[in-house]
C-alpha cells in the first residue's frame, strides 16, 4: 500500500509540476472568480418613457432585487400577497411601444413583487395584462390551481404507471402552501455553477489528456510497461491521482463559486421549497438540498469526464486526439437541442452526457429514470451512473495501457 501511495505521489508530481497545469489551473481559478463578479460588472440599459437610454449598474440593480426579495421572504403566497402584487402591477401603464419594466411605476411599485408575479403567472399561465386583471377569487385558488396543473400533467404525460405513482406521491407529500423565500444567491449559484463545472471539465481534459499518452510520446512507456508494477500499481496510481486532482479542482471551484455568490447575493433561501425555482420540479426538497445534490451531480460528472479523458489518453498515442474529442464532448451538447416532441427517454439519455449532468436542470430534471420498475430521481441516478461509467472507463483505460504496443 505504501508503494501505491509513493507511486501516486510521483503521478501527482507528473500532473501538477508542469507549466501547463499551473497555467490552466491559474486561468480556471481566475476565470471562476471572474465569472461570478463579471455578472455584476457593467450596466443594464433600458429606454425610459421619453426615449432616453438609461444605464443602471448591474450590481445596484441586483441589490434592489435582493432588498425587495428579502422584504417578502417568509410570506405565504396566498391571496393576500398575490392581490398585493396585482394591485402594485395595476399601476403600471401598458404601452405597445415600450416595455412595461421601463416605466417608473414598475420600478416604484411593481418591481418589488416581480418574483411573485413570475410564480403566479407560471401557475395561471398569464401575461402582464392577465395578471393585472386577476381577481381575488382567482388568487384564492392559487394552491388549488397549482395542484390541478400538476395533476393534469401526471394524468396526461406519456409515462409508465410506476412513474405516474411516483409523481402522485411527490404531489401528495408536497406542502399545501408555498412560502416565498428570496433565493437570489442560490439562483445565481446554480446558474454560474454550470459555467464553473464546464470550465473545470475543460481544465480536466487539458491536464489529464496526456496522463497515459505522454508516456507514449516521451518514450517512457517501454520502461514503465516492462517494470514490475508497470501494468498494475502504476496504472492504479495514475488513475487515482487523476481522480483526486479532478475532485479537488471541482470542489475548490464549487466552494469558490458558492462563497462568491453568497457574499454578493446573500445566502437566504436555502430552506425555501424547490418549487419556487420552477413550478415543474416535482421534488419535495429545499433549495439548499437541491443545490447540494446538484453539486454532487456536477462533481460526479467531472469525475466521469476525468475517467473518459483517461481512457482516451490510454488509447490514443498523442494527447492531441484526446483533447479534441473531449472538447467536442464538452462543447457539442451545448448546441444540441432536442425537439420538444422527442420521446422522454431521449431527453433522459441526453442528460447523461457529462455537460448536461453539470447543469442544474439536468440534475433536477422532472422526469426520472426507471430501472426494473424502480423510480430513481435524476439527482440520484446521474451521480450513480457517472460512478458506474467511470468504473467502466477505468477498466478500459487499464486494459488499453496494458495492451499498448510500443512503436
Amino acid at each position: 500500500m505504501n508503494l501505491f501511495f509513493e507511486l501516486t505521489g510521483y503521478e501527482f508530481k507528473k500532473i501538477l509540476c508542469r507549466k501547463r497545469t499551473v497555467i490552466t489551473l491559474t486561468l480556471v481559478v481566475l476565470l471562476g472568480a471572474l465569472s461570478v463578479f463579471g455578472t455584476i460588472v457593467g450596466n443594464y440599459y433600458y429606454t425610459d418613457e421619453n426615449g432616453n437610454e438609461v444605464a443602471i449598474s448591474r450590481y445596484d440593480d441586483d441589490m434592489i432585487d435582493r432588498q425587495y426579495g428579502e422584504e417578502l421572504s417568509g410570506r405565504v403566497i396566498d391571496a393576500d400577497l398575490i392581490m398585493e402584487a396585482v394591485e402594485a402591477y395595476r399601476q403600471v401603464p401598458l404601452n405597445e411601444n415600450s416595455w412595461y419594466t421601463n416605466t417608473k411605476e414598475y420600478q416604484n411599485f411593481a418591481r418589488k413583487y416581480s418574483e411573485i408575479y413570475g410564480i403566479v403567472c407560471r401557475i395561471f399561465d398569464l401575461d402582464i395584462e392577465g395578471f393585472q386583471n386577476l381577481t381575488r377569487e382567482q388568487a384564492e385558488q392559487f394552491d388549488k390551481v397549482r395542484r390541478e396543473n400538476r395533476e393534469y400533467v401526471i394524468e396526461n404525460s406519456v409515462i409508465s404507471e410506476n412513474m405516474r405513482k411516483y409523481w402522485q406521491k411527490c404531489l401528495d407529500e408536497s406542502p399545501e402552501t408555498l412560502i416565498y423565500e428570496y433565493s437570489g444567491g442560490y439562483d445565481r449559484f446554480v446558474t454560474i455553477m454550470y459555467t464553473t463545472a464546464i470550465m473545470a471539465g475543460a481544465a480536466i481534459a487539458i491536464i489529464l489528456s496526456g496522463i497515459f499518452s505522454e508516456e507514449y510520446t516521451s518514450g517512457a512507456d517501454g520502461l514503465i510497461l516492462s517494470s514490475k508494477h508497470g501494468k498494475g500499481l502504476v496504472i492504479g496510481a495514475k488513475l487515482f491521482a487523476a481522480f483526486i486532482v479532478s475532485a479537488v479542482l471541482i470542489i475548490l471551484l464549487t466552494a469558490m463559486t458558492y462563497a462568491e455568490t453568497m457574499i454578493v447575493w446573500g445566502s437566504n433561501g436555502a430552506d425555501g421549497q424547490l418549487l419556487l425555482m420552477g413550478n415543474m420540479y416535482p421534488y419535495n426538497i429545499t433549495i439548499g438540498q437541491s443545490a447540494l445534490l446538484y453539486c454532487v451531480s456536477a462533481l460526479a460528472a467531472c469525475l466521469m469526464f476525468a475517467a473518459i479523458t483517461s481512457v482516451l489518453s490510454a488509447i490514443f498515442r498523442t494527447p492531441f486526439s484526446t483533447i479534441v474529442i473531449m472538447a467536442i464532448l464538452l462543447i457539442a451538447p451545448m448546441f444540441l437541442t432536442l425537439p420538444d416532441e422527442a420521446p422522454v427517454w431521449l431527453f433522459c439519455l441526453e442528460n447523461l452526457l457529462p455537460t448536461n449532468m453539470m447543469a442544474f436542470w439536468g440534475a433536477m430534471y422532472d422526469y426520472q429514470y426507471e430501472i426494473f420498475g424502480l423510480i430513481i430521481p435524476p439527482y440520484v441516478f446521474l451521480p450513480v451512473f457517472a460512478v458506474l461509467a467511470s468504473c467502466v472507463c477505468v477498466y478500459f483505460a487499464c486494459r488499453a495501457f496494458r495492451k499498448h504496443q510500443i512503436g
Binding site: A202, P319, F320, T337
Partner: protein, 240 residues
C-alpha cells in the same frame, strides 16, 4: 552506299564505354523553380485537415442557416466555436517544421525556412481569408449581429488562438506545443460559447473586451509571424 558504310563500321568496331557521361549530364544546368512556382508546389503539401475544417466551417454556417433559421445565435456559437480549430490548425501547419523536427533540413535548402513558412502563410492566408469572409457574410446576413459584430466575433477567436499558438510553437518544441496550443484553442472556443451562450454579462462590456482581445491577438500574431519570417537565430529551437 553511305548507309552501308555506317552499318559496316558499327559492325566492325565496338564503341568505347561512355566516359564521364553521368558527370556531364549532371553538369548540364537546368532551370530552378521560381518562388512563385515553389509556392504553388507547396499547396499539395498542406495537410487535408485544413481544407476539411475550412469546409466544415462553411458547411456548418450554411447548414445552420437552413436547419435553425429561427435561432440565429446558434449560428454564432457554432461558427465562433469552430474558428479556433481552424486557427490552431493553421498555426500548426505554419509551424509544422518545428513540430516535426524538420527545421534543420528545411532551413538549409535553397528556399530557406522563412521562405518555406512564407509560402505556407500565403496559401493558408488566402484560404483562411476566404473562410473568414464567407463566415462573416453568413453571420452578417443571417444573424442579428450585423457585419461589424460578426467580423469581431469571428476575428477575435481566430487572431487570439493563432497568435497564442504561434507563440507556443515558437517556444515549445514537438508534440508538447501541439498539446498546449490545442488546449488554448479549446479554452478560447469554450470561452466563446460561454460568453455568447448566456446573457449573464453586459454585452457592451463584452464587446469592448473582445475588441481589446482582438487587438492584442492581432499584435501577438503579427509579432510571431515577423519572428518566423525573419528566421531569428535560435528561434527554431536549434541549440548545441
Amino acid at each position: 552506299m553511305r548507309f552501308n558504310l555506317k552499318k559496316e563500321l558499327r559492325e566492325a568496331f565496338t564503341p568505347p564505354e561512355p566516359n564521364g557521361r553521368d558527370g556531364f549530364l549532371a553538369a548540364i544546368p537546368y532551370p530552378k523553380l521560381t518562388y512563385r512556382e515553389f509556392v504553388l508546389s507547396q499547396i499539395c503539401y498542406i495537410r487535408k485537415r485544413i481544407w476539411f475544417v475550412s469546409l466544415l466551417i462553411l458547411l456548418a454556417g450554411v447548414g445552420a442557416v437552413y436547419i435553425v433559421p429561427d435561432s440565429s445565435m446558434v449560428l454564432v456559437w457554432i461558427i465562433s466555436a469552430l474558428i479556433p480549430l481552424l486557427a490552431v490548425l493553421t498555426a500548426a501547419e505554419i509551424s509544422r517544421s518545428d513540430i516535426f523536427g524538420m527545421f534543420e533540413i528545411e532551413a538549409v535548402c535553397r528556399f530557406a525556412l522563412p521562405q518555406v513558412i512564407g509560402a505556407r502563410m500565403i496559401i493558408l492566408g488566402i484560404c483562411n481569408f476566404a473562410v473568414i469572409a464567407a463566415a462573416t457574410a453568413v453571420l452578417g446576413i443571417f444573424s442579428p449581429l450585423g457585419i461589424a459584430k460578426s467580423a469581431l466575433y469571428i476575428l477575435t477567436p481566430y487572431v487570439s488562438v493563432n497568435g497564442i499558438s504561434l507563440a507556443i510553437f515558437g517556444r515549445v518544441n514537438g508534440q508538447d506545443g501541439v498539446y498546449l496550443s490545442v488546449a488554448a484553442a479549446f479554452a478560447v472556443s469554450l470561452a466563446g460559447v460561454i460568453l455568447f451562450g448566456k446573457e449573464l454579462y453586459d454585452e457592451r462590456m463584452t464587446n469592448v473586451l473582445m475588441m481589446a482581445v482582438c487587438v492584442a491577438g492581432t499584435v501577438l500574431m503579427t509579432v510571431q509571424i515577423k519572428k518566423l519570417l525573419v528566421g531569428k537565430d535560435n528561434y527554431y529551437g536549434i541549440k548545441d
